[in-house]
Symmetry: D2
Subunit: 344 residues, 4 copies
Amino acid sequence: MIKAGIIGATGYAGAELCRLLAAHPQAKIAGLSSRSFEGKALSEVYPAFLGKIDQICQNKEDVIAASDVVFACLPHGHSEELALKTVYSGKKFIDLGADFRLADSGEYKEWYGKGFEHFELHLEAAYGLPELFREELRGKKIIANPGCYPTSVALALFPALKSGLAEAESIIIDSKSGVTGAGRELSDTTHFPNCNEAFSPYKIAAHRHTPEIEQTLSRAAGKRLKVTFVPHLLPINRGILSTCYVRLKLGTAPEKLRSLYEDFYRDEPFVRVMPEGQTANLKNVRTTNLCDISLHADRRTGTLIAVAAIDNMVKGAAGQAVQNMNLLFGLPETTGLELIPAAF
Amino acid sequence: MIKAGIIGATGYAGAELCRLLAAHPQAKIAGLSSRSFEGKALSEVYPAFLGKIDQICQNKEDVIAASDVVFACLPHGHSEELALKTVYSGKKFIDLGADFRLADSGEYKEWYGKGFEHFELHLEAAYGLPELFREELRGKKIIANPGCYPTSVALALFPALKSGLAEAESIIIDSKSGVTGAGRELSDTTHFPNCNEAFSPYKIAAHRHTPEIEQTLSRAAGKRLKVTFVPHLLPINRGILSTCYVRLKLGTAPEKLRSLYEDFYRDEPFVRVMPEGQTANLKNVRTTNLCDISLHADRRTGTLIAVAAIDNMVKGAAGQAVQNMNLLFGLPETTGLELIPAAF
Amino acid sequence: MIKAGIIGATGYAGAELCRLLAAHPQAKIAGLSSRSFEGKALSEVYPAFLGKIDQICQNKEDVIAASDVVFACLPHGHSEELALKTVYSGKKFIDLGADFRLADSGEYKEWYGKGFEHFELHLEAAYGLPELFREELRGKKIIANPGCYPTSVALALFPALKSGLAEAESIIIDSKSGVTGAGRELSDTTHFPNCNEAFSPYKIAAHRHTPEIEQTLSRAAGKRLKVTFVPHLLPINRGILSTCYVRLKLGTAPEKLRSLYEDFYRDEPFVRVMPEGQTANLKNVRTTNLCDISLHADRRTGTLIAVAAIDNMVKGAAGQAVQNMNLLFGLPETTGLELIPAAF
Amino acid sequence: MIKAGIIGATGYAGAELCRLLAAHPQAKIAGLSSRSFEGKALSEVYPAFLGKIDQICQNKEDVIAASDVVFACLPHGHSEELALKTVYSGKKFIDLGADFRLADSGEYKEWYGKGFEHFELHLEAAYGLPELFREELRGKKIIANPGCYPTSVALALFPALKSGLAEAESIIIDSKSGVTGAGRELSDTTHFPNCNEAFSPYKIAAHRHTPEIEQTLSRAAGKRLKVTFVPHLLPINRGILSTCYVRLKLGTAPEKLRSLYEDFYRDEPFVRVMPEGQTANLKNVRTTNLCDISLHADRRTGTLIAVAAIDNMVKGAAGQAVQNMNLLFGLPETTGLELIPAAF
């Protein structure tokens, strides 16, 4: 059994990770910590877990000591220090925060306000999107678990850009996320009467996931590209749907795209390329690690519209973290993640 | 492996049953049928199941032939005939419809419009609420899977009435159900703009679950009782919450009730008696077979308020059906049902 | 033009009052105040009001000075002092808080923690439910605007109790409110992922509206009565629906009730007694001052089920306050309140 | 008083029109018709209207005869015939359907399956978006009331294209609509459990509003342009939000855009250009004829993001129709439409 520790277990990503790990056949929760709820049971914070996950929140040092792998579910800026302690004790570190996602310290500083402090750690880190970068992850000590929006966009556009069938310029990404994406913290934005029966974009062309999206898509295109990224807040609990617009290279038959994607993801258990005529809907992936992708062509304007749907808390956070853990520990990636979405 | 067949697999209860059985470690879906979608894959009807449950809907005869146990998910009035065929072939029959729930043909006729046609079948049937009637179920050929509202109410009130601490008169049951309770069928009531941001009771003091509730509570009280039952439609997908009002016998200390319930359900894996100060919320049981019960006393009026929350599609239908199958086949009742609810 | 001042204009009741007064043909907003947003425009707090209500929040003294009538939208405990200042300046005071609702200082202390401080003020006050107590309001200096739940319950049950057709014992009130009822203040309870797709009772048999409900129903019954009152939180923005259970006196024909209610409310522009076969739904009264009442009998148990639906922010707060203002100033009560609910 | 007749009054646009006209100070409902509900009161179809709009649905001939202006709220293909009858009787005709929206019969045929039948009628028709084409509407006999999506997009992009500050190529329009946009008709798509907690695009690059959008934007740009238009279904009742992406001409300072829009819409009572730092949200315009527009620049990619929010049923249908009626009859356009949106 893999002994898993969760730092920041009472935030949304942490709690979802607990839900998945508690049901994982080859891992167990060795410890969990929370700054706000130390000494309390997780089930006191989330009554849904009553009798299921009643472990008490400890301090983080005890959690690290008890674990083979440490998951950090913290706001950005707190993970380097923690990773240092963890990997020096010979344990694996999976960061659900942003600290290891960007390869470039300068870019990190531009978007997050300060640069890397421990460059050597970043050499041990890899970007944990297994479907795209599986080989780079093996043997790594630190995994940067991707952001929720970037996961959906990367899976939606990577094949089109990698293959050269789509242009790297003028990419527009219009994403919509459920409210859990804003986390457990109270705010005007997440006050029920404010977001129910409401809909609006936010952080327009200014969201911190932008450079992360560009980093992955640039790797696909083989050159540095920029995107316009606009996230919106949906009045639902879970799920992200990204509608991605890219120009097709002149002469690219849209049919070509579908078989390209089907080939690309053929052996991926978590990616479903929807059959012709079906459209990705975030409803169909809720509480699972699946990513549904549907492809549509606007022949009148030569535009590919790639739509990806994930559960922001699972494939967009905790589920992908477990997938990364499985990969690091030599388990089938699907272990503990073979979840069937509810039909309604 | 138990070979399970589902008749009426494309209705909501049937689809939920498929979700649970597809993940069951000791059972497999041997066949499924649907009148409306024969020849189509279940995943064509419910795209959430794509790649997960792609079995084709057959005719019901083939399903029965291939199965050890047949689940019928049909409108009332269709199960007797089917049960006849099934049990004569030596197979088990679990009815998610209403045909075998009432013990009395006259009462069934009063509420459903026609009496029993095969009385002998009813001798082979038992009411499948394991927490209350486990011993009666063993060895039975036919299980009447309880209705969703009656399950919540029976678990909420049985101990209070059985113990004699509560009066059998003047019981008021105010229940609220998510929209999946109305099924897959389109109707004005379930048209989104009609039920979103809306709330209303329906079938006031006239719902067919009334005699079923009374049947179980009468057994608890040891005498024939009547209840006032008013269901309401909640603008959410899943879940039932029943707020049950009973008068406490003079001199009953409310604390007594709590320990009574804790004792009564101590070994029941699916019932959680909430700790003092917590309140049952249907959010905490979604997609699981759990029933959360919270107990509250109105000391000013001598009233016990017992609140029960279930997922109408799981403990209120498909999950309880699987629990009954497990019981019939000698498996631990929790097999395939050890689901941890999501915290949000 | 009546000069109206609103103290506490940025809370939900205050903002709704501004919406109604801004469209009132015989009143104008003379001033508005807010402790948290002094110096800011109301439309900065609520962007929906941009270009419509851009008045700046002042301090409350200035507001009182500029007004003929002062509406106080404050938490309980703050209104006596304010009323004192207002009525001594010869102005009218309409309190949307709880301070003047209960006639008995001892009862007020029991539920709100402290007794009256200015008894003489309470002699000038009347309980502002015009449909029931219109005559008592004329000429009064202070109006206690009723609570939201009590408004729905009083209108639902007054005729039945007043007429003596229903018993005063064993009254059960099961109410459900939209989230705006919890106000503008952030809380775990109103965090979107916590209340969306959730449903639960709260303050069970302990809500402060209980004595207010009992006060009005006792007047109807002509004797002191107690009720069991359980409010629930609905995952919608607006509206209260109260399902009220009372025992019919032996021999009372349910039909009698309907004509009784129709007669009782015949000339009331804001109360709609629903035709036989229809059921009150909070959807049908949203953003209006209407109260829909539907009557249902459970003949099997001799129970009357009276269902009342209001918009908690309008008839349950700001709309009723405007109705009271109209009445105090000799205008038709419907002035500025002739709102047609949207059909969806 | 203008005598207004509504053909197709029981559909959503028709019912909303009735709500607005019933409160209009200078118009009255002279008659309303419905194929499905002839002989029934509108309030039987929509109980929200009980006691407010109890008029009986008649046949359409009687409605036309009784009216000065006829509003047609019908599926496309039914309006030419009706318009013929109406204008020949010397009355005005305002079509909320699609039949008169496109100027080109060939284009109409391409998207709607058949061409114009009465070309002469189209000479009498004008496209009723007063903010953009007011002068063309005066004196016209037929008004083509714009589609809901096209209204939001036209108001969002017209100034940018007209001014030449934005490129006419590569326009991407990502729109999101509430479920009332799908109308009163039952469908799988609008079945509550299917669309609640769900989100998905539909009719991707194939929606019939595409040519209508292009027609208006082409007029702005002064040349034929094409757009990529993808609508999505939001799990809310009302409202459209369109996120529109256009490339800025090289060297265009984004600030220039804001003052351009402010000037363009300075005297328009229904358009609110949001102050810097605020974002359009469909919540802020609900049940009103307002269109909120916010402007955002992605300086990294030279993209203007113009966001427009309307109520699909009001500015997107019935409200704009009343605005057009006011204009035709020489009333201030705001008559009967001075609605203040609720803050929550």
